[in-house]
C-alpha cells in the first residue's frame, strides 16, 4: 500500500524525536529541505568568502612560518567549503546553482567577512574570534538532524580548533611585542569583537528561522546561549594576554555564573548585512570575477572529459 504524505510526515517526526539522523534518501518535508539548503549553502559560501580577508595578508605575512600556517589554514577553509557544498548537493541542488544564487544575492555568507582585514593583527583576531565563534556554533551543529551536515561538522570542528589556536598565538606574540604591536593587537580586538558577537545572529525572539530550525533539530542551541558561551570562554583569553575587550558593561555575574555584556549595535548589524559594510561589494565582485575568469577553464575541462569518454 502506498504511504500517504501523513504517514511520511509521521515517520519523519518520529525520527527527529528519536534523535535519529535524516539521510539524503529519506523523505523530508520540502520546507525542511529548503531550510537546510539555505543554511548549509550559506555556511559553505562563508568558508569560501572567508578566504578573501585572510588571503589579503598571505603575500604580506611577516615570517615564512606564519605564511605557511596561514596558507594551510586558508586551504582548510576552502576544503570546508568544498565539503559543505558536497553535503548540500545531497539535497538535490548543484554547486553551480548554489554559486549562481550567491552571485545574484539570493544566498548569503557570514556578514563578518564584509569587514576589512587592515593589519596583520586582524589575521590574529579573525582566527581567535571569528573562528572561535564559528567553533562554538559548529560544535553545537555536530548534533544537527541532517546526517551529512552533522558529519561535515565533526570533521570541520577538528580543524577549526587549530585555526582558533593559530589566531590566538598571533595575538599572544603581538601582545608581548613592541608598543606598536600591542596597539595593533588591541585595535584589531576593538574592531572584531562586536562583529564576532553578531555572528551568532539576532536575539532568539527576533531570529527569522530559529524557532522552526530548533523544532526540526537543525539548530540545537539558541543564538543567545551560543553567544554567551563564546563570551564566557573568550574573556579570560583576552585577560591572559593583557588585552581589553571593548565593552564597558562587561562584568562577571556571580549569580548567573556568566559574564554580563553590553547590547550589540543591531543597527550596524542590519546595515552591514544590507550592504553598508566596507567590503560587501568587493567580496562578491572578487568571487564573481574569479569565477568568470575561470569559465574558459571549466569549459576546457568539460570538453576534454567529453573527448576522453568518446575515445
Amino acid at each position: 500500500m502506498a504511504e500517504t504524505t501523513e504517514d511520511l510526515e509521521q515517520a519523519f517526526e518520529a525520527k527527529i524525536a528519536a534523535e535519529e539522523k535524516i539521510e539524503p534518501k529519506d523523505w523530508m518535508p520540502e520546507a525542511y529541505r529548503k531550510n537546510l539548503v539555505r543554511q548549509m549553502s550559506q555556511h559553505a559560501h562563508s568558508e569560501v568568502i572567508g578566504m578573501q580577508p585572510e588571503g589579503n595578508w598571505l603575500t604580506r605575512a611577516p615570517t615564512l612560518k606564519r605564511k605557511c600556517i596561514l596558507l594551510a589554514k586558508i586551504q582548510d577553509e576552502g576544503g570546508h567549503g568544498l565539503y559543505l557544498y558536497s553535503a548540500t548537493e545531497t539535497l538535490g541542488v548543484s554547486r553551480e546553482e548554489l554559486i549562481d544564487a550567491l552571485h545574484e544575492g539570493r544566498a548569503k555568507y557570514a556578514s563578518i567577512f564584509n569587514y576589512p582585514s587592515l593589519t596583520w593583527a586582524d589575521i590574529g583576531a579573525i582566527g581567535w574570534l571569528v573562528d572561535g565563534a564559528a567553533i562554538v556554533n559548529q560544535i553545537s551543529l555536530q548534533r544537527t538532524s541532517y546526517g551529512p551536515y552533522a558529519r561535515a561538522m565533526v570533521r570541520i570542528c577538528k580543524e577549526e580548533s587549530f585555526h582558533q589556536r593559530q589566531g590566538y598565538e598571533i595575538m599572544v606574540e603581538l601582545a608581548r611585542g613592541s608598543d606598536a604591536q600591542k596597539a595593533m593587537a588591541q585595535d584589531a580586538l576593538n574592531r572584531w569583537w562586536w562583529p564576532s558577537l553578531m555572528m551568532f545572529g539576532p536575539h532568539d525572539a527576533e531570529s527569522a528561522h530559529s524557532a522552526q530550525s530548533m523544532l526540526w533539530k537543525i539548530k540545537r542551541q539558541s543564538n543567545d546561549d551560543l553567544r554567551q558561551k563564546f563570551v564566557d570562554q573568550t574573556v579570560p583569553q583576552a585577560e591572559a594576554i593583557g588585552l581589553r575587550i571593548p565593552d564597558d558593561a562587561l562584568v562577571w555575574n556571580e549569580a548567573r555564573g556568566h559574564y554580563d555584556f553590553g547590547e550589540i549595535d543591531w543597527d550596524e548589524f542590519q546595515r552591514v548585512i544590507r550592504g553598508d559594510g566596507l567590503c560587501n561589494r568587493q567580496r562578491l565582485r572578487h568571487h564573481k570575477q574569479a569565477h568568470d575568469d575561470g569559465a574558459w577553464v571549466r569549459e576546457a575541462m568539460a570538453a576534454y572529459a567529453a573527448r576522453e569518454e568518446n575515445v
Binding site: 605557511c68 576552502g78 571549466r298
Partner: protein, 247 residues
C-alpha cells in the same frame, strides 16, 4: 658565505619566489578544487624555501627570515621563470609544467649530492615534484586538447615562457666549482632529457613547441625582470616597516 651556503640560498630563492607567486592564486582559481591544489603546491615550495634558506643561513648565522625578508632585488638569485607574474591559468600551469619536468631531473640529481643536507632536502623535494608533475602534465593535456580557446591560451603561454627556459640549463662559476666537487647538479646535463620529455608532451597535447626566437637570462647573477622588486615589496613589507621584531 661558503659556496654551499650560496648555492643553498639561490635554490631557496627559487622555491620562495615561486611559492610567493602561487600564494597570489588564493581565492582566484577557476574551481575550488584548483584553489586547494594551488595552495598545496605553494605550501610545498614555501616549505622547501624554509629548509634551504635555513641551511644557507646556518653558514653565517642568519635566519631563514633574515634571508627572505631583508635582502634586496640584486641579492636574489632565483631563476627568472619563478618571478614572472601568474598571468592566466594557462600561463601558470604551463610554467608549472615546464618547471616540474626540470625540477624532476634536478632534484633526482641533487639527491645524489655529496652534501648530506642538500641530498636530504632534494629527496623530499623529488617526491613533491613527482606529484606536481602528474598534475601539471594532466592540465597541459586538458588545456591543449580542451577547447580552441584553452589551446590558444596555452600556446600563447608556452610562446612567452619559452624564452626564459634557456637559463634553466646554464651554469656559472659557483655551480661549476660545486658540481666538480659532487655537491651541485650539472644543469647542462639535464637539458636533453627535458627537451625530449617536454617536446613529446607539448606535441601530444595538440600544441606547438615554440621556436627559439629569443631568450633572456640573469636570475643567477641577481639581474631580474622588473616584476621581482614589486613581489619583494609585498613579501617584505611588514619586516621592513617594523624592523627587528618578533611575530
Amino acid at each position: 658565505m661558503s659556496d654551499i651556503g650560496l648555492y643553498a640560498r639561490r635554490l631557496g630563492d627559487d622555491a620562495l619566489i615561486l611559492g610567493q607567486r602561487l600564494c597570489e592564486w588564493c581565492s582566484n582559481a577557476p574551481v575550488l578544487e584548483e584553489d586547494l591544489a594551488l595552495a598545496n603546491t605553494a605550501l610545498d615550495y614555501l616549505g622547501r624555501a624554509r629548509l634551504l634558506l635555513s641551511y644557507a643561513g646556518s653558514f653565517d648565522g642568519k635566519s631563514e627570515d633574515e634571508l627572505a625578508y631583508l635582502r634586496g632585488e640584486r641579492e636574489f638569485e632565483n631563476l627568472l621563470l619563478m618571478e614572472l607574474p601568474n598571468g592566466d591559468f594557462a600561463f601558470s600551469m604551463a610554467r608549472q609544467y615546464l618547471l616540474d619536468v626540470y625540477e624532476g631531473g634536478f632534484f633526482a640529481a641533487l639527491a645524489q649530492s655529496s652534501d648530506e643536507q642538500l641530498a636530504a632536502i632534494a629527496g623530499k623535494a623529488a617526491k613533491e615534484v613527482a606529484y606536481h608533475l602528474r598534475r601539471s602534465a594532466e592540465w597541459l593535456r586538458r588545456l591543449g586538447l580542451g577547447t580552441d580557446e584553452s589551446n590558444a591560451r596555452t600556446q600563447a603561454a608556452l610562446d612567452e615562457l619559452w624564452g626564459y627556459t634557456a637559463e634553466l640549463f646554464e651554469m656559472d662559476a659557483l655551480e661549476e666549482r660545486l658540481a666538480a666537487a659532487g655537491v651541485a647538479v650539472d644543469r647542462r646535463a639535464l637539458e636533453a632529457d627535458w627537451r625530449a620529455q617536454v617536446t613529446r608532451a607539448i606535441t601530444e597535447a595538440g600544441l606547438q613547441v615554440p621556436e627559439t626566437a629569443w631568450s633572456v637570462r640573469g636570475g643567477r647573477e641577481g639581474v631580474h625582470t622588473e616584476y621581482l622588486g614589486h613581489l619583494l615589496s609585498e613579501l617584505q613589507y611588514l619586516q621592513r616597516a617594523h624592523p627587528g621584531l618578533s611575530w
